[in-house]
Structure formats: C-alpha cells, structure tokens
Amino acid sequence: MQPWFVEFAERIDDGDPFYLACEECGAAALPPRSVCPDCGTQTLEERSLSGTATVAASTTIFSSIPEYADDTPYTIVIATFDEGVRLTGQLRDVEEIDRGETVAVDVESRGEDAWLVTFAPTG
C-alpha cells in the first residue's frame, strides 16, 4: 500500500484519525491531496477526524476478488463523518446495517504496511 495510506490507517489505529480541511472554502477531503477538490486552492490543513460516522450506503458482497474470496459474504459500508468526508470499510460485529446508523471507525492489520478500514455499530 502507498505510504500516505499507511500513515492514514496508522493514525486511525493510534486513535488519532485525521482529514484535510480547506482553509479557503471549508471543503473536507482525504489524503493524499495538496489541491482542494472544490476550490482548487492549495490551502488544505490537517485536522482531527471524529471517530464515528453515519452509514450512507452498504452492500453485502457474495463474489469477490481473490484477496477476499474466502471472506464472502461480507458487508462494505460507505460512512459519512460529521466533518463531511466519507470513507469505505468493512462492517464488523453485525452482518447488515441500515442507512443512518452510527458506526465507529477502526483498522485491522493485514500484514506489513497493509491495513483494512472497518466500521462497527456504536449502539
């Protein structure tokens, strides 16, 4: 995995997740960016990201790529943080989840410099 993603994941693992906020327009983005996707300025600043997010969509995968073929079925979630960024990860602890539910973000190590983002219900 790319060094920027390893750092991003390790910061989640350390309980100190971050995102990038645009000083100019307030847009929220994820690494690795130096240019704001909304206004094009180079004023992105690292800020702390809350540890919980809201489920925006989910799907249960029955047929997968070789790396995850033995794990099916598993559920993928896109969740929206209060700061505005969205992140994709695998659902843990439950098999399905509704839109609008609150989830906590975490990461799992998958070997050296390889990380998987996960979400689990907070309730």
Partner: protein
C-alpha cells in the same frame, strides 16, 4: 471540416477460446476497412482502446502491436486507456486528429480478451479502475461499487429491485435479435430477482458478462471522402468527456454521475442539439442500475424517473427513446476496452438503416461510455448526413 464514418465492424462478442488480442482486433479492423472500401495502407492514425491487456496478456505497447497486425506499420499508433471508456477515448482522439487536419484516415477501435483468465483474475484486473487504497484494498469489488450506487438510488427514489431487473429484461430481449450479441436468451424480472446475489441489491442477472471481442471504425475527412468517391451516411457530430473523483466515497451524491452530466452537456453543445433531438442511444449498462443513472445524466428522464424507462417501455425499440437496441453491455457483452467503439458500430448501423433492431428513420444517435464507477465518461454524438 467534418469527420465521416466510412466503415464499421465488430467481431461476434462472447468467448473466443484460442484467439488473441492481435487476431480479434485484426478481424474487426480488416472488416471495417473493407466496409469502407479502403486498404490498411491508407491508415494514417490508429487509436485503440485496451484496458486490462497488461494484466491478462502481459502485453503493453498494444498500439504498435495492432498497427503491425493489421498491416498499417506506416500509421501513428496509440493505445488509449480510460478504463471501460478506453475505446470512446480512442474515437475522440481519432476525430481530433482529423479535425486538426493532421490526417485524413484514422482507424479507431478497441479490443479485450477476458475469458481466458479466471473470474478472480478478471475481477482483480477490472478493479484497477477503482481507487486501489480506498476501494480495492477494502474488498470493494466493481459490482459492489455499483451496488452501493443502486442502494442509494433505491433509497432516495421510488424504485425497486424489480425496476432494476426490467432493464435486464429489455436489453436481453434486444440481444436475441443481434447475431453478434453474447447472450441470446430472454429473461424475466422473476429470473433476475431469483438469480444468485453478487453484491446486494444486484444479482447475477443485473450484471454484464465477461466478454471477448473487438470493434473498429474507419474515420475519414470530408475531403478524403470526396477525393476518393467514398459514399458515407454518418457524420461525427460532437463529443464530450469529463471526469469525477476516482473513488465513489468522494462524490457528494452516490446516486448521480456528474462526469456523464458534464460530458453530455459538452457533446450536445458541440453537436448543436439537445437531449430531445436524440433518436437512438447505446449507453453503458454494465449493471442495470448504470442504465438508470445514465438516462438521467443524459437528460432523457428527470432525476429519480430513470427507472420508469424500461418499466413503461419508453426505452424499448419502439419507445420514445430507444436505449441499447444492440442488447447493451448486459446482453451484447462488455469486452471492456472495446465497448465505446462497439457502441459506435451499433449506432452507425442504426443511422445507416441496417441494424437488426432497426428503429424508424433515426437521424441522431448517441453513445455514452463510462470508465470505472463514473470517474470517466465519454459521450459521442453521430448524425446522418455523410459525404
């Protein structure tokens, strides 16, 4: 100066065991050149779409390989890659070369050989169109990405899984009449709903098959057509291409394809038309939900109304705006790097009045091709006129 479509061809789509990228593309290109009454020696530019050949064939530098294979070593040759929109990018490059006056004859095409690789290997290769760190490494497959879009759409609007299935029913039916189509069987809403789940809410019947195939088109300048007495019927009218965030998670609305909206707006403006002027469409239905999102982005239906198209028959061969009369990617098949030109071949046949599912007297046709989950989109517009 306008660009004429002088000849088109596609190989049969499906499985071609024992064939190769070279052989399949050569079949399509030579048939298109014959259709144009031109020899490979006339080709000045070759643009060819190919998406996963590096992985399936261990072969890059596909442009030169195919110029050589078709007997056009004299041509400038380039492989274009915009994931599943690769061949539509090739069309744009060919048109631009002719419009710039750099050349008078271009072959544009695409080829993909997918069936020889295992399903896992192909799924892995196709996943390269998605964001590697944020999507693939999380275990999000390509059908999974479209499933997330489908779930968001079904939640946001008054549509059901059965409405998604209606797209498959229509396109499978169209494929039955198309001798080049991979799937030659009709289906029903019930059969799609009962087919094995791939990524909820999408079932196997909502997904396009794994396809081998190649397509090619010969583009010539007006001046060349006049000079050589080539009679053509179809003129290239305009094109648009746009981009979006690579990862689905970065798009503010999961059930909306902004690159397609921008590409369509640009193509309509360049062609001097609006959505209402379009008579026949080949669009990127890699999954049933993709057709619904596309008909909205292209302006044929209001947001949230796209699912009505197949359900109410408006997008059928005899409907208000016939969509995917070839069977689309769902039934015709989806050799990923060839699809954009395969669509252009079908639209050209419609405008020339020689399509197996011919509609009445069309004068404007459109192709819509998506790369990845919508991070690339190309819209090309053709019209009758010719030289």
């Amino acid at each position: 100066m306008s660009v004429q479509i002088a000849g088109v061809a596609s190989t049969p789509f499906g499985e071609h065991p024992g064939s190769s990228t070279r052989e399949l593309f050569t079949d399509a290109a030579l048939e298109a050149l014959e259709d144009a009454s031109l020899s490979p020696a006339a080709v000045e530019e070759l643009y060819v779409g190919n998406f996963i050949g590096d992985l399936t064939d261990d072969q890059a530098h596909v442009g030169a390989m195919l110029a050589d294979a078709i007997g056009a070593q004299q041509a400038a040759s380039v492989r274009t890659e915009s994931a599943c929109a690769s061949a539509s990018s090739a069309v744009r490059s060919g048109v631009q070369a002719l419009e710039a006056g750099d050349a008078d004859v271009a072959v544009v095409g695409g080829v993909e050989l997918m069936s020889a690789s295992g399903l896992g290997e192909v799924t892995d290769a196709l996943a390269n169109a998605a964001d590697n760190e944020y999507e693939n490494e999380a275990g999000l497959t390509f059908p999974g990405i479209y499933a997330l879009m489908a779930q968001a759409y079904l939640h946001e609007f008054d549509a059901t899984q059965a409405d998604l299935a209606a797209v498959a029913v229509k396109n499978y039916e169209n494929g039955v009449s198309n001798p080049l189509a991979q799937r030659q069987e009709e289906t029903t809403v019930e059969r799609v709903l009962d087919s094995p789940p791939i990524a909820t809410p999408l079932n196997l019947g909502d997904c396009c098959p794994i396809t081998d195939g190649a397509s090619a088109a010969v583009l010539v300048s007006d001046a060349f057509a006049d000079e050589h007495g080539l009679e053509t019927t179809v003129t290239f009218a305009g094109s648009g291409q746009s981009s979006d965030s690579l990862a689905l998670q970065d798009r503010p609305d999961l059930a909306r394809t902004r690159a397609a909206e921008r590409a369509a707006e640009d193509a309509y403006e360049r062609a001097g038309i609006s959505a209402d002027d379009v008579d026949v469409v080949e669009l990127h239905d890699c999954f049933t939900i993709a057709e619904i999102l596309a008909v909205e982005s292209l302006g044929f239906f209001e947001r949230g109304e796209g699912a009505r198209g197949a359900v109410d028959g408006e997008t059928a061969v005899g409907g208000r705006i016939p969509i995917n009369t070839s069977g689309g990617l769902l039934a015709k098949g989806h050799p990923v790097g060839a699809t954009g030109v395969a669509q252009l071949v079908e639209i050209t046949k419609q405008l020339e009045g020689r399509h197996p599912n011919q509609i009445d007297d069309p004068s404007v046709g459109l192709t819509h091709t998506v790369g990845g989950s919508g991070a690339s989109c190309v819209v090309n517009v053709l019209r009758t006129g010719g030289a």
